[in-house]
Each structure stands twice: as C-alpha cells, then as structure tokens.
Symmetry: D3
Subunit: 136 residues, 6 copies
C-alpha cells in the first residue's frame, strides 16, 4: 500500500462566534477571532489517499483526477468565501479548523474512486496551526 | 550601511470592491475577490530598516524594538480585522495589497528611531503574490 | 477523533559530549558536534494533541491554551539556554534531539487538560533532521 | 521508541510513458508528463527510521551514518540521472513517484543497521505532490 | 512606485553540454550536469513588475493578467519540456539558469501592458541556487 | 549583468554580551540573548555575485566553485563553532547578525574570481530576522 498526497490552497473569511452565547461570552472565549466584522486565512489543504499501485500507470490514482475532485467538491465551495455565511456544509456548525477539516472529509470521501481510500485531511489555518482528520 | 529585516504575520478579511461601480462591474474586474461576504488572508509582512551599526551593541537597531513598533502601529490595527471596515488608514481606499503595503509604510515611517531609516515594506498576500514599497 | 498541532520555535546552545568518554572518543563519535565551546540551533517544535471536538466551541482544545502550556513548561525552560548546562530535565542525559524530544513529552504530558491526550512531539534540529516521539 | 528522519534532495529527468501503449494512449493518460523529450524534478526525500535510543550517544542512530547510506544506495544512483534510462532498480517499471518511493525503500532497507528499522519513505515530486511508503 | 511579484512554477529536463566541446571537456566542466541522458528541475519563477497604483482598482496591474501572460509566453513553452530540445528561445544557447532567466525576460517584456514595466526575473533552479536578471 | 545566489547553512553558538558593560547592563539591553551559558542558531546564508554570462558555459560563475569558496572561507570557520570564542574574524566585536554578515563579506570578497563581483550577503539568524550587507 502507498499513500499519495495532493496539496491545495484556498483563502476564506470566517469568525469564531457561537450564536447561542452573548457577545461578551464569545469575546471571552474566542478573543480577536470573534471580531464581528470577520477575519480570514490562507488555508493549505493536504488530501491523502491510499491503496495499491496500478502496474500499467505506476499510479495509485492520477493526481490530476484527485486535484479535480478537490476543486469540484471543496475549493469551488470554500475558496474566496465566507465560511460562516457561504458554505452549506458548515451551516449550523462552529467555523473552526477542526470542523472545516471534518467537513472537507465528508465532502470528498464519497467521490474517491473505487480501489482507493481517503486516508487523511490535513488543514493548515496558519503556518503554525493545523488539524488532521482520519475519518470517523 | 546594513539592512535589517523583521518578518511579522497577521490575518484579516477583505474584499476588492469599488463602491463607485455596480456589482456587475466589480465582479467583472475583481472576480471572486469581490465576494460581498468577504474572504481573507494570512499576510506575511517584511519590514526592512537601514543604517549604520552601533559599535557597543553590534545592532543597527534592537530587533525587539522594531518588532514592538510593528505591533503597536500595524498589527494591533490590522490583525484579525476586516481591512475594509475596521482599519482607519485604509478608509476610502481600495483594500488591495498595494494600498495595504503603502499604508503600512505610512503608519510605521514616523516612528522609526533617529539614525535609522525605513527602507522597504514587503507584503505577501499569498505565498505566490507579494508587493514591495520603498517610499514615495 | 481529530488531531491538532501547534508549531513553536526556540533556539539553544548544546554540544554532544559524553563525560564518561575521553575527548578523543567524543570527537571520533560526534565530530564537530563535540566542539567543547558549544554550537547551537533554531529548533522547530510541533506539539500534537488528539481528542473529540467540543460542539460549543468547535475546538479540540483552545490552541492559545496549548501554546501557553508549551511556553510555560517548555519554552521558558529551553529557549535561549544551554541545553547541557541550564535545563533540569536533561541533567545527566546526552543532549541529543532524541532525548530532547522525549524530555519535552515528559514536561508537557502531565499538563494536557482532561479529555485531550498528547499524541506526538516532533522536533526539528535543522531543516533536514527531525525526531518524533509518541510516548512510552 | 523514537523516529528519526533525514531529508535529502536530488534531481532527475523522467517521463511517464508505458511502452506497451501507443503514443496517443500515453498522451491521453499522462498528458504533458508523456513528453518524449523528458521533463524533470527536484525531489525531496524523507527517510525515517525507528528504534530505541542508545544511552551512551543519545542517538537512535548517527544521522551522518543514515545520510551516508542514503547517498550510497540512493542518491549516487538517481541524482542527476534519467530515471527511465539510468536507474537499474526502476528498469521495466513505470517511473512514477509511487514506484520511485517503493524502489528507494527496497534499496535502503537491507542496509539499515541492526537494532534500527526503516519506517517510512516520503518523496516529494513537487511541493504539492508527495508519496509515502511504509513497506510491504 | 510599487513593485508586484507573481510566483509561478514549472518543471523541465535539461543538461549542461557545450556541443563545441568533447564529452571529456563537458564532464570536466559540468560534472553530473553533463549527463547525456538529461536530468531536471522544479523551477520557481518570480516575475516582478513596477509602476504606479491605479486609484479605481488599487492595483499596479491585475495579478491574474500578469499570471496569464507568464502562462502564455513562458510556462506553455517551458513546462514539462526539455530545455535543450523543445524551447525555441534557448536554441543555440547553453541551458543554464542564467540564460533561462534572460530568455524569460525577453519573452515577457514586450507583452507587459503600457504604464507598467518589467522589473526583475528571479529563477530558482533548486532551493539553494537562484539567478536574478533586471534587463539589459 | 546577472546576479547569482547560492544558499548555504551553518549553525553556531553565541551570546550578545559587551565585556565593557556590567552583567546587569548586558541583561537590560540584550535580555535572554545575554545568557552567559550561550544560546545558538541555524543560520541561512545567501551569497550573491554579479557579472556577465560566459558564452561557452552559460554561467556567471560555476556555482560549485562559489559554494567551495563559501565552504573554505566561511563555513569551515563558523560552522559548529562558538562565534564569540572560536571565530578570528569576530574577535573584539559584538557577535550580532549585523557584524557576522559584514565579517562574512570581508572573508569572501578577496577570493571572488576576476570578472565577477560580490554583490550581497544576506544572513538569516531565525526565519523571522535577517540582515543584508552590500559592502562598504
């Protein structure tokens, strides 16, 4: 078994704000991240799939196909968007890196081709903070 | 003469939107960057000063002092903010990387200590796009 | 379960020198790293914790809290220090990256909050050498 | 148990071309990568070994020894070479990153010293594509 | 005046080989880089333009337009190619990073829009070697 | 004219300590950097030369020759050393990044071959602090 990773990039606005809490509670917990006028990030997204190598191509899967799936099911939904307002798969959830990584897994996993399995989503919010998710 | 650079980091929301234009004109020129609900970036900021080395310290200037000036006059104003809504020095200007770099120069330049001169502001909007400004 | 990583930075002096060996034996095994006058590194430290996401915050744990624990129990002890002379948790041990990574785990692990577990310490000594430790 | 990783670098030419297929089939599957005149890459190679720490040295193994093994059994064979034409361990195989990573494992694994085990080969073809292999 | 830089990426095969010299002379001067079967690189290309900021857009020039020019006049010509065999603007020249940087300048410069000037081409051959060219 | 840069790496111990001042004065000015037991860094060194391209080689100068000069006149003197105790060209000077960059220029400049000129020394002390020197 081999593991193949494709790195993609998107940027988006968000805020950390729990609508069931008061403004003061949000600021106490989330600090500057609760700024009501939003802030944003350049996200680096690592998508890892695993499986056996095809003898004819030498590929686990064509990395251009994987990149196309990430574009269709993730980047077209989140890139240059507001994660709190514009992204259906985050509706009703806190827009944390943790939930974003899990949501990206759920978006992508059903579309990974037969014979290959999604292994990991790794998502950098800043160069110093990242989250990994390996499925439920 | 030597040149000393300090690298800092902030993140912010913005959009590229000219209020004197229609929504259609904005989308034609700025594409996804005109998304009315904002998007955002992790900005990397390089501040370069120049001058002579002090013999007693070996320093052009204490890099902790430079870092403190950047924090007070720039980061405290833009970090975790909305560049269009929250930043006084960008009021009435397009929130492009070009104008942000020029605005940061104007914020910092009056506070650089005597004997040292501000040389350059270099601002990365993404790892693949940056602007440099060397003063008027 | 999700995994959250915080990246921190410190720099320190050290040497690789086994006091039970002669100077010649140390130089034969450790080469330049045995220089009696020390050398040093910028260390990059990746601390990974794992657990379930809190629904109210969207967080596994607040990354600022994690960063604060790393500062208190690791950085305040090793940053701008001499690993051989100044760091209690390395006393009597060889100051290798391996032992430093294990020592950092032991410093941090008792302070990770309930419901979250320390998963990994990854420590870069140079951009081309790193050690990972996942606990005993 | 600790894990130690050494990062090395090489560059090489290759093409993705299945000699049992027509030129048209190759271009349909591999696109620009099938260019008959070759293209090439700077490869970053991460070699990870695992085992127990030696008390006298503080080392899992001497990283200079590991680096020497990688030079002898991998870099001297692939660096500044044509992967399709010059590399015996890839003869008769597709020159994909997947097969290159597996081949590097097979080159190195027999030479890892007693008491230490090869854990992973991670190979970047570009900064946005990498493959990992953990053995059969 | 501001300076705007766009970073692009391509990969290519090449060799350093002077056809007016013997094989022995080429190997003496160019070493492994003269391997007759080619080697290759991931090149990072920094294109810098300079000029005044447009008040309506906040742009020196639209970075997507700049990126499109680089794609049309450079990347489509060199990416996934053999620099010695496939690239008209290098015909009859040594395929060094120096000549490649100068050739890229000459390809791009006539197409930079009025009011903006090409300032620099910076070309990384490896992460440790780069060339800059600022025009004749 | 073209500019060619080679990136090298070394690591060293140092402290910022003015022997003409009291311990208290040193700590007030230099803080943790004055730790009497030293600290250290991984330094990244960028050496830039400039001149005309040789038609026969395509080179400004052979980058392996440049790398060899840096090794002989700089790395062999500073790598795995104590900058305060072991480095003749820093004797009697404060061991700041500024003075280290100037000293490296003075070490290298007399050995640059005829027809090529040393243009810049750029020295990173940490990923967030660097100094540039372009000669007297």
């Amino acid at each position: 078994m081999v593991y193949l990773t494709r790195v993609e990039h998107f940027n988006a606005a968000h805020k950390l704000y729990n609508p069931r809490w008061s403004k003061e509670e949000n600021e106490a917990v989330f600090g500057l991240c609760a700024n009501e006028n939003w802030h944003g990030h350049n996200y680096d997204l690592y998508v890892t799939v695993k499986g056996e190598v095809n003898e004819d191509t030498g590929f686990l899967m064509d990395v251009k196909v994987l990149s196309g799936l990430v574009k269709t099911y993730v980047l077209d939904v989140v890139d240059h968007r507001n994660l709190n307002l514009d992204v259906p798969f985050l509706a009703g959830k806190m827009c944390s890196t943790e939930n974003l990584a899990k949501g990206i897994w759920e978006q992508l996993e059903p579309h990974i081709p037969a014979g290959v399995r999604l292994h990991a989503i790794k998502l950098y919010e800043t160069p110093r903070i990242y989250v990994e998710y390996f499925g439920a």
